[in-house]
Amino acid sequence: MSSAITPDHSFDDELKTAIRDELMKVLDPCSCMSDHPINIVDLGLIEDIVVDDGDVEIILLLTSQRCTYFLDINDEIRERVGGLPAVDTVEVHQDTSGEIWTRERMSDRERTARRERFEARMEAAGITPYAERSQ
């Protein structure tokens, strides 16, 4: 079971919900190089949202600890979340627990959509899976 915060995650805190909604506007930079950009919540990068009055901390679990786009993601999160009226400060940190990003952290809808696009591309190219051909 993934610990990522999903688009459907329900909070008992309105501010956290508003922060999650802002985070869903932040697109993963790598996915922007494809035809199907994906936001960082759907991608499963949000490990935690911590709120202490107006002080907010966002914990990210990146697909790679060496992600060279961390600074870009950090800047956009600070700009968007910092723009919420109830927020005074925003800190963005990487998860250091040793947990590793896996595709299971992606939201069901994105994982399904991605797979459907892949299979549609295979079908459009007339490709029958080898495993089915050899049966």
Partner: protein
């Protein structure tokens, strides 16, 4: 050699030079350090080299002992690297590759690096491809020049004509680094879309995509399934079988399901990595039941494993397995292996040959 007598072929080995004297670019030290850290991430405990062993100018004799005594590898393909934008000798020099091949002519082939931006790159391809033992050309997808990361993807105007030169040369395989971004080069350079275009336009060339399965797996599988001349080279990816088994299972499962077992080749990635753990990992690998049931991934048969660990690479190299077995039977490494097998000391302990063996073997 596997326990059943099948040959193990390593589709990538290198003699790296990780010394400070070899640095040319400010990022070179970082590159060295990240390569070391990669070994910590990808290898089981006990197989990570000490810093004393890692940070050196690795020599052909050391590589030979690492491959042929510390692992089950019988045959290896040395790849020199064209990274002279970062390292004075390109990081993995051609010279050491030719020396390695000369010292072990029945056990080593070579893919020679070419920088497509060299004025005489086409002539270099023709010249190196004509040399004995050279079976392929090696490209990188980006090059740092004048402060910029230039794209050297196969579809670039600076690169595409060289594919014609390779097609006209004495070799028929091009290997290209993909999937693991480096330094400041944009991630899009590491996607395999350009390989698809090249494989389509040059059906008589084989394209070996290095580090296949590490990322962009669906794009990789599409390229393999739609082009019979695209091969997945598992350098670094093979190590995931031990350290990220679910990711490995998914990558291998996708390849087997869509493209079959005939164009996947094991690579050990020495001297950056120890080559033995992934051999044992692949040989003992079983597709998890949840992925067989949930994703329709096929079982990985012993025949599949033999192909991945050697058979496919030999076919790609145009080598007859029985002839290779005859050629290496009784050679220096075969004798040393047999001696150690008698004492229960084969494969030899990881990285142990880097010190104790130097004096005893250098006189052979």
């Amino acid at each position: 050699m596997l326990d059943n007598g099948a040959l193990v072929v390593d589709s990538v080995s290198h003699c790296f030079n990780h010394t400070p004297e070899n640095h040319k670019h400010p990022h070179a030290q970082r590159w060295d350090d990240e390569t070391f850290e990669l070994s910590e991430k990808l290898l089981p405990k006990g197989y990570v080299p000490s810093k004393e062993v890692f940070y050196r100018d690795h020599q052909p004799e050391e590589l030979a002992r690492l491959l042929f005594l510390e692992s089950q590898i019988d045959y290896s393909v040395y790849h020199s690297l064209p990274l002279d934008d970062y390292f004075k000798d390109g990081y993995v020099s051609r010279e050491k590759g030719f020396e390695f091949m000369e010292q072990n002519s029945n056990r080593v082939s070579m893919y020679v690096d070419i920088n497509p931006l060299d004025d005489d790159a086409g002539d270099q391809i023709e010249e190196f491809a004509s040399r004995d033992g050279v079976e392929g050309i090696k490209f990188y997808p980006a090059r740092y020049q004048n402060g910029n990361d230039l794209s050297l993807q196969l579809t670039e105007d600076s690169v595409w004509p060289l594919l014609e030169r390779i097609a006209d040369s004495d070799v028929d395989t091009l290997a290209i680094h993909k999937f693991i971004p480096f330094a400041t080069a944009p991630v899009r350079y590491f996607q395999p879309g350009d390989v698809e275009d090249a494989a389509n336009s040059f059906p008589d060339l084989n394209f070996e995509i290095i580090h296949a399965g590490f990322s962009f797996i669906e794009e990789t599988v599409f390229a393999m399934a739609s082009h019979e001349n695209v091969y997945a080279n598992l350098e670094n990816t093979a190590c995931l079988v031990n350290t990220r088994p679910k990711k490995f299972a998914r990558a291998l499962g996708e390849m087997l399901y869509w493209a079959g077992p005939d164009r996947i080749v094991y690579a050990g990635g020495a001297t950056a990595l120890h080559p033995q753990p992934p051999i044992e990992g692949i040989w003992n690998f079983e597709m998890p039941e949840e992925l067989r049931a949930g994703e329709d991934y096929p079982e990985v048969t012993q025949e599949d494993k033999e192909k991945i660990l050697g058979g496919n690479a030999l076919r790609l190299l145009g080598k007859d397995p029985e002839q290779v077995k005859k050629d290496i039977k009784g050679d220096k490494w075969d004798q040393l292996r047999q001696e150690r097998e008698e004492t229960g000391d084969y494969p030899v302990a990881p990285w142990s040959t880097y010190e104790a063996e130097t004096a005893t073997l250098s006189d052979d």
